[in-house]
Subunit: 382 residues, 2 copies
């Protein structure tokens, strides 16, 4: 295999999803670390915290009270980054004056939801069996379904969904939006200010940069090769094997060829799925299983509550039939830790100014995460 040389030399790898390169320097972890140490996360939390604004029955910032939910619960963020109502911003139409060339802006409307994974304040996805993660995936699916524009071909699929969560339990928007970004910030290092297990879903009237870039790339690839970029990638990774961390019948989990973060992971469905609503009930359970595998291995790697940001990319809520068809569901995990529970990889000067740089290869990361199989370390100790 000619690629083993890449374990020894500095090189760049290409990310076909975003059309960008990153620098890989496999030897660089040899450098001693005398810099900042993160504090390892608190592990002794109560199952219910009367001061937590996400625990069942507790009051929130704007005065609302959470219901006594027993699985998941979604509400509109009291400090949303986008709102359903605001004045329109009129863009001046003159085309060649400097201002309209160089000071461009557009208004953005939308809704920011918070969604809890569990009523238990002190649990995490890594602690939850797949069966208990399923209600979250069902809730994501219903939330996404509720926000589909009526003209989206996926709304027909959504109409036939059989879900444990009712249409009413997931918030319903006042308007049509373009995209829904579902993401989780896990751990204080990743800007999470409340350990109660939860994620967010921000819908926006505009297509955000990252999924926009990916959709453009997927579209170009399909126009050129007649196949889906990520379908081809799944096929290739299953053949090659060295970046495959885990798989079940419907999903494969890889440290992608183009990973930027030290232990970055990508969950991919084996068949073409455009968005959450395309999954069967069994596939949703298998996705829960994949998420449980990733988060448990993460925690086992450095025997800590492993921080990360994760996010789902899928078809837009509103778009041309081609865009919807070209989308290929996937879930990214970007974890900052590199060497231990307290030493992270800093994406700073060179990375921000020039190009992302990583210190271990994705193949080495895969091997390490494969070895983190088995029971969650916290349960072994007790």
């Amino acid at each position: 295999m000619p690629d083993t040389i890449l374990d020894d030399i500095s090189h760049r790898r290409y990310n076909p999803l975003t059309d960008s390169w990153l620098l890989v320097s496999p030897h660089r972890t040899k450098r001693p670390w005398q810099g900042q140490q993160e504090s390892a996360s608190v592990t002794t939390l109560p199952e219910y915290d009367p001061k937590c604004y996400l625990c069942p029955g507790n009051p929130r910032a704007a005065g609302d009270k959470n219901p006594n939910y027993d699985k998941t619960f979604a509400f509109v963020n009291d400090y949303s980054a986008v709102k359903e109502q605001q004045p329109e911003y009129e863009v001046s139409q003159s085309s060649d004056d400097l201002e309209s060339l160089l000071l461009r802006a557009q208004g953005v409307k939308g809704v920011c939801y918070v969604l809890t994974f569990s009523p238990k304040h002190n649990t995490t996805l890594a602690d939850m069996p797949a069966q208990d993660i399923l209600p979250t995936i069902d809730h994501w699916t219903r939330l996404y379904a509720n926000h589909l524009s009526p003209s989206n071909p996926l709304s027909e699929v959504a109409a036939k969904l059989q879900l444990s969560i009712s249409r009413e339990e997931a918030p319903i928007p006042k308007d049509n939006y373009r995209y829904m970004q579902i993401f989780e910030n896990k751990g204080a290092v990743m800007g999470c200010s409340n350990p109660h297990p939860h994620c967010q879903a921000w819908t926006t009237s505009t297509m955000p940069e990252e999924p926009g870039k990916e959709l453009t790339q997927m579209t170009k690839y399909r126009q050129k090769h007649g196949r889906h970029l990520l379908a081809d990638y799944v096929k290739l990774e299953l053949e090659k094997g060295e970046r495959v961390l885990w798989q079940n019948a419907s999903f494969v989990v890889v440290c992608p060829w183009w990973a930027v973060w030290p232990f970055e992971v990508l969950i991919l469905p084996k068949r073409h799925i455009r968005a959450l609503v395309d999954f069967t009930a069994d596939e949703r359970l298998q996705l829960a299983e994949a998420i449980q595998e990733v988060t448990r291995r993460y925690d086992n790697l450095f025997e800590t509550h492993f921080p990360y940001s994760s996010g789902i990319h899928q078809a837009p809520l509103d778009g041309t039939p081609e865009e919807i068809e070209n989308a290929y569901f996937h879930m990214h995990f970007y974890p900052p830790l590199l060497r231990s529970a307290t030493v992270k990889k800093f994406l700073v000067g060179f990375e921000l100014m020039a190009e992302p740089q990583r210190d271990i290869t994705p193949e080495q990361a895969t091997a390490r995460l494969r070895a983190c199989d088995g029971q969650l370390y916290r349960n072994k100790l007790s």
Copy 2:
């Protein structure tokens, strides 16, 4: 002025240098912060630290000993991310098999330099008068000049340089490279592991992503409008005024329209400068003055050693005459702090998965930094 509405509504702004958008949510700083606090940086350091590998006369990791330098000192990083010598990576030439489409790589060679700003372990750019920052700018200029490819039109300019630093004091490469990225990581929060004031310069055989994107955008703009993008931007910002933080005869400092980081700053020369070697001696001193203004105001803002990553973008070391001509020198500052000396802005879930998001407007940031004029807070106290 129609733009004042942007102080109140969520909107996107366009960055013409990188052809990308970011989300601005001016109201979001109202949310209370219960998340991670950074530790404020240590302020009591000795002027000389016998254990520091950057102090004059001290030994380094690989066994070399630093000279007893009195201004600046540059050497090749003992743990470089790229190297001058390594085996070649042969890319397979088949054009349509999945592997060459989806697992693309290329070898990267280069040199990583470390450059100290001062022999004093306990000083920072904010503490140094412009006159004392000048030797660093001279050193950057000589380092860049030494690495210019002979075919670069700028090498003729470089040959005529009058510099206080000799050709021998700045390292000389074994090979031709494509780009030199000069950057500083300041503060532990930005991954800096040694407080001794220093920056880095990484030269690479490939064009890194960020300056590559910018050069493409500058080239397109010039082809379309016959003028330099950043020359137009300087003109416009000087006319409008609301994002101008400070200026002298040769430079203007702005919080750019498209700033992502809360107090992001851009230093721009008022005339078209392709690279460091284009500056006159007087302009180099004026650049030192601009850097001193930015770093002092930063420290004054939250009365702390303000962390940031900064970096210079300029003409490539090697490139077509058009590329060299289209380049427009500028210096970025990306500081993470948002609310205080210990609360930073987290660019995490939504930002990584969807789109950068900021909480205060660049105009508000400009007003705050303008008000941080005057003596360095540390000197006032003593």
